[in-house]
């Protein structure tokens, strides 16, 4: 492993990001690993950033590009809110993201999921992948870990879920992706946005379910260290 390469490699977020609508709002979920080449630069990063009180965005791709884009959009939305006199809608936020992503598509490498709640449309999820398309979807996934989740969502997502069902679905999905994708890992963060407000949740590694091939440790050294006395040999 060439260590010099690591310091110069652009800071990217392998990532798994998910946005899901439910009956009354949206749930956004993400892992927390940021990698520089083969090194995990930040194992507890927060990829769900706030744009306004009621709109959040999940970031994936190049860390620098996505941070700058969300900073600019937060600034534009702030101005827009002042001029409009009321909270911005999710559609406006998503469109601003899309305008920046599309006009600078040659320079930027970032896939974003915009999700939020407003009083006109309720909970909405918009995907803005690489290239700058804008697609409104009932649920959407992004990042390198999303490849492993397309089939899972086709089977597991249904209309009109409750808030808890939706959040459990998101947590399960992110932990499945973490199990299979090397560039995703760490903890699972979720943000629930509805008419009442915003709730942020945090699921550390030990609270996540274990999947196939991630078995409980067997015959691990920890057992030997914790064992009171050596076991007699079986012949």
């Amino acid at each position: 492993m060439d260590l010099n390469m690591n310091v110069d490699a652009p800071h990217s977020m392998g990532t798994t990001i998910i946005g899901v609508t439910y009956n009354g709002g949206v749930v956004l979920g993400a892992d927390s690993r940021t990698s520089t080449g083969m090194y995990v630069a930040n194992r507890a990063s927060d990829k769900i950033t706030q744009l306004t009180d009621n709109v959040y965005v999940c970031r994936s791709g190049s860390a620098a590009d996505s941070q700058i884009v969300s900073d600019y959009v937060r600034y534009f939305l702030h101005q827009h809110t002042i001029q409009l006199g009321q909270p911005a809608t999710v559609k406006v936020a998503a469109n601003l993201i899309r305008l920046l992503s599309y006009s600078n598509k040659n320079m930027l490498q970032t896939g974003l999921i915009v999700g939020g709640w407003d009083k006109y449309e309720g909970g909405k999820i918009y995907g803005v992948p690489l290239g700058g398309t804008l697609v409104e979807q009932p649920f959407t996934i992004g990042g390198s870990g999303s490849s492993y989740l397309y089939g899972f969502f086709d089977q597991a997502w249904k209309e009109g879920m409750t808030k808890d069902e939706a959040e459990q679905l998101v947590v399960k999905a992110v932990s499945l992706a973490i199990a299979r994708d090397g560039a995703s890992g760490g903890v699972v963060r979720t943000v629930i946005i509805n008419s009442e407000g915003v709730t942020r949740n945090f699921y550390p590694g030990d609270k996540l379910p274990l999947w196939h091939e991630e078995l409980e440790p067997q015959n691990s050294l920890l057992d030997i260290l914790n064992a009171p006395s050596p076991e007699p040999m079986n012949i």
């Binding site: 260590l3 010099n4 310091v7 110069d8 652009p10 800071h11 940021t34 520089t36 090194y39 630069a41 930040n42 507890a44 990063s45 190049s62 860390a63 620098a64 941070q67 700058i68």
Partner: protein, 344 residues
């Protein structure tokens, strides 16, 4: 000038070339300026209705080449400069590097830099080795840079870049303090640094650990050369970051006291010093709290010189005198009386 070598496809092209030849005054030994050629050509193009002429003229223009007497060689069409930083030379450098022409090696700080948040504030630590390729060019450099009375920044990467960027943002923060009349905040420094680094798309090779205490509390951030930032309770950067992170991951906990924090930082930097080739020499520590800051330069010196002459070295304090001989120069010179006055 190679106008003669241009492809004459149509009679109109020949007319342009004749005009150009006339303009090249044989009495004045000077090449035609590119701008002049352009004006002549565009005049012809604009006066001609046919489209064919235009396309052939563009062929004509492309085949013109100007010799390098002036500094405008190879730039035929003057494109007005677009806004923003021009990355053309960066592309040229990459192309040259692929061909084996390497840029001159510059001074990097191999480095281990760390920061952690403890109960009263922030502690920053750094090693003190600066390298130039495989050579250590400075055994005791300062990597913890001043940003504001309550904010310090450790820098890894190209030494010139870290120095310049931290100096620049430190001045901007000072002006901002005058403007607002308030103590600088760490997020201000963070935003100024990240905007600058993002604008240069990673070519300013500065990886920074920024730490400080302001009215909102203690903060610690890392900034990468491409402009992305992370906010963390403990952070390491530089070539020795993996060694230092290993120490932090095993021993860090929240609510450390000042002495525990300094000890942990020192241990992490030592781990980088001894296990990473790009880091070495001494440990610098900087403790920032709400009350003030303490810059412990060379807090630990685990690499003293092994063999020193106990008598010391005595060097003569002036230039060595090798020979004392006086040669009067008058003997070597012939003096002529009443010569011509000197001409300027």
């Amino acid at each position: 000038m190679a106008v003669e070598q241009a492809n004459l496809c149509t009679p109109q092209d020949a007319a342009v070339v004749r005009t150009l030849r006339v303009f090249r005054d044989p009495h004045v030994d000077r090449e035609l300026e590119p701008a002049t050629v352009l004006i002549i050509i565009t005049k012809h193009v604009m006066s001609s209705p046919s489209l064919n002429f235009q396309t052939q003229i563009s062929g004509l223009i492309l085949s013109l080449s100007f010799s390098g007497q002036r500094n405008m060689s190879n730039s035929v069409i003057e494109v007005p400069p677009k806004g923003g930083f021009s990355f053309d030379l960066c592309k040229r450098n990459e192309m040259l590097a692929k061909k084996g022409v390497n840029p001159p090696s510059f001074r990097k700080t191999g480095t281990t830099i760390v920061g952690l948040v403890f109960q009263d504030g922030v502690i920053l630590g750094a090693d003190t080795r600066a390298t130039e390729g495989p050579i250590v060019c400075d055994k005791n450099c300062e990597k913890i840079h001043y940003m504001a009375p309550n904010i310090y920044c450790c820098g890894a990467g190209t030494a010139a870049d870290t120095e310049a960027v931290t100096d620049m943002v430190s001045s901007q923060l000072q002006l901002h303090r005058y403007h607002t009349g308030r103590e600088s905040r760490v997020v201000t420094a963070l935003t100024l640094l990240k905007r600058h680094l993002f604008n240069y798309q990673g070519h300013v090779s500065a990886a920074l650990v920024l730490g400080g205490v302001d009215v909102t509390g203690p903060h610690l951030h890392t900034i990468y050369p491409h402009g992305s930032t992370d906010t963390l309770p403990f952070a390491t950067m530089g070539s020795g970051s993996l060694a230092a992170m290993a120490v932090f991951e095993s021993k860090y906990k929240e609510g450390l006291t000042r002495n525990e924090g300094i000890e942990l930082v020192t241990e992490a930097i030592c781990s980088g010093i001894f296990n990473d080739l790009g880091s070495g020499s001494n440990v610098d520590v900087c403790v920032i709290t709400k009350g003030g800051k303490e810059y412990l330069r060379n807090h630990l010196q685990p690499n003293p010189r092994t063999y020193t002459n106990s008598k010391g070295y005595s060097f003569p304090k002036k230039t060595e005198v090798l020979l004392t001989k006086i040669i009067p120069l008058k003997e070597k010179v012939e003096i002529i009386e009443g010569g011509d006055a000197m001409e300027e």
